[in-house]
């Protein structure tokens, strides 16, 4: 049964998702709903599979079990043609920017337009400049991606991600490794893009302060499941032990500081004993 694609239905529905990589279980019975037109942040510790989740939503990976609907379409069951049609309405911002290194900034933003439309060159030029203006990099259009700073590369990638006017945009760790000024720029860009284009934004991040400030909804995941979900203020108010540890960044708690293993004493003494043998 496909979810009906009505205006107020969730944009993305994930049900009982299970995904493993080799022997490692990444998601075990994960379910969530991502509302349309809002900013939703998926937060969780490193290695909790946040990027994997975006790849599953984008159809680059297939779930072992469970289902993912985007805009009422079940992603894993789409033919390549229909998956590509869905992706044209989906922008993704990679952590590294993932700009095409053999093209200039202008050509990078023009890339999806050139691939998918037959716009005359002057219209294309105007469109690309509009997108670059939106991220404040119109003057950098002739630069080479290799000469851009991390923050600039991410802004160009954002301009490219919105080139086809998508209705969903996925951000992979948009705040990682940025200086405070650039961080502020990216935060306001994500917020502005969401409001002005009326699109659904999904972020994965572990930068608590920025994510809480920017999001309408926050989903906390750990050990392959959703631990807590809701609007940021609600979440802070009723946080469980685990969520409190994560949101406040305490070094020890339900998530132990020590990687699980034999007891310290046992480990040391065991070593002594072996030496005696």
């Amino acid at each position: 049964m496909a979810e009906p694609a009505v205006e107020d239905s969730p944009h993305i529905v994930i049900e009982n998702l299970r995904f493993r990589r080799g022997r490692k279980m990444i998601f075990d019975d994960l379910s969530m709903r991502i509302p349309r037109g809002q900013v939703t942040t998926v937060m969780g510790p490193s290695g909790s599979g946040k990027t994997t989740l975006l790849r599953l939503i984008g159809g680059q990976l297939r779930p072992d079990k469970g289902r993912i609907w985007v805009d009422g379409q079940e992603v894993a069951k789409l033919s390549t043609r229909r998956l590509y049609a869905l992706r044209k309405r989906m922008g993704m911002l990679f952590q590294s920017g993932a700009l095409l290194t053999d093209l200039t900034v202008f050509e990078n933003v023009a890339f999806p337009l050139r691939e998918h439309t037959d716009l005359p060159e002057d219209v294309l030029h105007t469109l690309v400049l509009l997108k670059l203006e939106a991220v404040g990099l119109r003057a950098a259009r002739d630069m080479d991606p290799a000469t851009l700073s991390g923050g600039m590369a991410r802004r160009v990638a954002l301009a490219r991600a919105i080139a086809l006017d998508p209705d969903l945009i996925l951000y992979d760790e948009p705040f990682t490794g940025l200086d405070p000024i650039t961080m502020g720029q990216i935060v306001s860009l994500i917020r502005r893009t969401n409001q002005s284009l009326g699109l659904t934004s999904v972020l994965v991040s572990h930068d608590v302060a920025e994510a809480m400030a920017i999001s309408d909804q926050v989903v906390l995941i750990a050990d392959g499941r959703v631990v807590d979900a809701g609007p940021p203020d609600e979440l802070e108010a009723r946080a469980s032990d685990w969520s409190a540890q994560f949101l406040q960044g305490r070094p020890d708690g339900p998530v132990p500081f020590h990687y699980p293993g034999a007891a310290y004493r046992e480990d040391l003494l065991g070593h002594e004993e072996r030496r005696d043998d």
Binding site: Q60, R87, M92, F94, L99, L100, T101, P112, E115, H116
Partner: protein, 260 residues
Amino acid sequence: MTDAIASLGRSSINALAVFGRAFVFLLRLLASLDVVVRRFGLTMVQIYSVGVRSLVIIVVAGLFVGMVLAYQAYITLVNFGAAEALGGVVALSLVRELGPVVTALLFAGRAGSALTAELGLMKTTEQLSAMEMMAVNPYRRIFAPRFVAGFVSMPLLAAIFSAVGVMGGYLVGVGLLGVDSGAYFSQMQSVTDWNEDVLSGVIKSIVFGFVVTWIAVFQGFNAQPTSEGISRATTQTVVVSSLAVLGLDFILTGLMFGAG
């Protein structure tokens, strides 16, 4: 002992898995070939970077190989009073063997390694992934044009190699060793057969071009997305494609000349 057997089994299974992936990759590549006709510009750019940019090394190598060949052949031929046959010997060796084989080896080192490194880096920096998310099929946009470019360039480079080699042989044979200029070329014309020699060389170079480019593009696609992974993939390209060229050369030569 059991460990050795287990690791032998493991590496055999891994090798088979890689071979399987390479084959699936090739099938997808072949299924995307219509892009070459639809957007010939993409392939042209690659022919320039794979083929035209390999010209210098091919021309220089061809010249030296031809010159050395003329020296070596002359030393033997002159003992039998057959120095006039030099042109034929040089041309036959080049067209049948050295042209396709040496070009393929140089091509693997120059263009193959560059292809692998480029694609491996594109994979590592998520460019291929980003393309997929922009609903652009990397097989059509990236892999197929590069594959066709290698496949087209290799026979042309081999032909250029042989032609320059013949001129190198002429420089040494006629210029230095005093073989008659007319005899050099008339001998060449009388012993070199179009079907038997030239065409067999062309077939070889087409096969080598196919195999070397396939290996290079696949290794880039299959590289572990780390700097170590790229370096390993690049080395693999050169090693595997060189060995494949030499092995295939033996088989093709057997097929073409063995029965006769």
